[in-house]
């Protein structure tokens, strides 16, 4: 045993996750992110573009890693994404949050939910009742135990990616993991 554990995803991707891309994809990308983190905001369009370029070859999973002391709205935003997910609109809310990082307070979250056509009553109830607090904490702790050391942290096929989070760098590693040479 070492104080420095290997940085591998300890919680396998499963039905509990928010997943884009087929189970048969050639490579998986798991992101631990925080909706109020500016670096995650910068990574958002990168990940979107990676999904467009790689299509069904890529399976993308997003898990919450809110740094709540630094980012006072991150936890609420994560719970809002989960509440939207309960109405099958996780990815729509995910996109809204990452494109509105400057306005993530409760009133704005409700506004986004309404704009997305969610049932506002149950959405409000989920936020007010902290229905997804535990779920978000589960994500966070699975990240801590997997060696997430900041946000965003990516895992490619279960192994922590420590390279730069730009499009070319990520695409090169994902393409190689997918067995494609020359990206």
């Amino acid at each position: 045993m070492s104080i420095h554990a290997t940085s591998r995803l300890i919680l396998p991707v499963s039905e509990r996750d928010h997943i884009r891309g087929p189970a048969t994809a050639l490579v998986s990308l798991v992101e631990y992110g925080d909706y109020e983190c500016p670096f995650c905001g910068a990574a958002y369009p990168v990940v979107e573009e990676l999904q467009q370029v790689l299509g069904d070859r890529l399976r993308f999973v997003f898990r919450h890693f809110p740094l709540t002391q630094m980012h006072p709205h991150a936890q609420g935003a994560a719970e809002a994404a989960e509440a939207a997910g309960a109405q099958d609109m996780f990815w729509e809310m995910h996109a809204t949050l990452y494109t509105h990082q400057h306005a993530l307070d409760g009133a704005h979250l409700i506004r986004y939910a309404i704009a997305l056509g969610l049932d506002p009553t149950s959405f409000r109830h989920a936020l007010g009742g902290r229905s997804y607090e535990k779920r978000v904490r589960e994500d966070f702790l699975s990240g801590v135990r997997s060696g997430v050391n900041g946000t965003p942290t990516f895992f490619i096929d279960g192994v922590r990616y420590d390279g730069p989070p730009d499009f070319d760098s990520l695409l090169a590693v994902l393409a190689e993991a997918a067995g494609e040479t020359g990206g």
Binding site: M1, S2, I3, H4, A5, S7, L67, T68, Q69, M70, F140, L141, V144, R145, S146, G147, V148, N149, G150
Partner: protein
């Protein structure tokens, strides 16, 4: 598990305290008026997190992460102490900015003295290494780890180390309600 090796694949450039050695006593101010004394934590595990500098990006990420993981450390009744050679006022500003709920301690005068006693001082630049020590409730160093200076070692290894400690006290143990420096009896 009885041994706690430093990860062999990463060379340890220093003479960091080895597992099984007694942690050297220190007294460092957490504020201009309050002194933290390591031995007063006896009875509970202590995580010593040496880091090079308050405002460097990696350190900021590391301390921010540990701040978020504090409730998990507390499940093991473990205290977290950050240490760098920055002065107490610098630490106060850093802790306020990052909303830290644990004290970063200044190894400031004599500069780097505690880091030296723990074998993690960097004489060529005057900072301390990015080093972790998990000290058990008897004051004995269990695992220690010196990270590459620019790499945030995360918290996973600390939690694994805390889990492996033989006695960290349970919810019903005497330790669980004991405050550092107070009596158990």
């Amino acid at each position: 598990m009885s041994t706690y090796p430093i990860r062999p694949s990463i060379p340890n450039p220093t003479a960091a305290l080895a597992p099984g050695t007694a942690a050297p006593e220190f007294r460092l101010p957490s504020t201009p008026d309050l002194i933290v004394i390591l031995s007063e934590f006896r009875g509970s595990p202590v995580i010593l997190a040496f880091y090079p500098a308050d405002w460097s990006p990696v350190c900021g990420d590391q301390m921010t992460l540990y701040n978020e993981v504090l409730p998990e450390f507390r499940r093991f009744h473990a205290a977290l102490l950050g240490i760098s050679v920055d002065g107490v006022w610098c630490h106060l500003a850093f802790a306020k900015d990052r909303k830290l709920h644990f004290p970063p301690l200044p190894d400031f005068e004599p500069k780097g003295a505690v880091a030296r006693t723990c074998g993690v001082h960097r004489p060529h630049d005057g900072n301390c290494e990015r080093a972790l020590f998990v000290i058990d409730s008897e004051g004995i160093v269990r695992p220690s780890y010196v990270s590459p200076i620019g790499v945030n070692p995360g918290a996973d290894g600390i939690l694994t180390a805390l889990e492996a400690l033989p006695t960290t006290g349970g919810p019903n143990s005497c330790q669980s309600t004991r405050h550092p420096g107070s009596s158990c009896r």
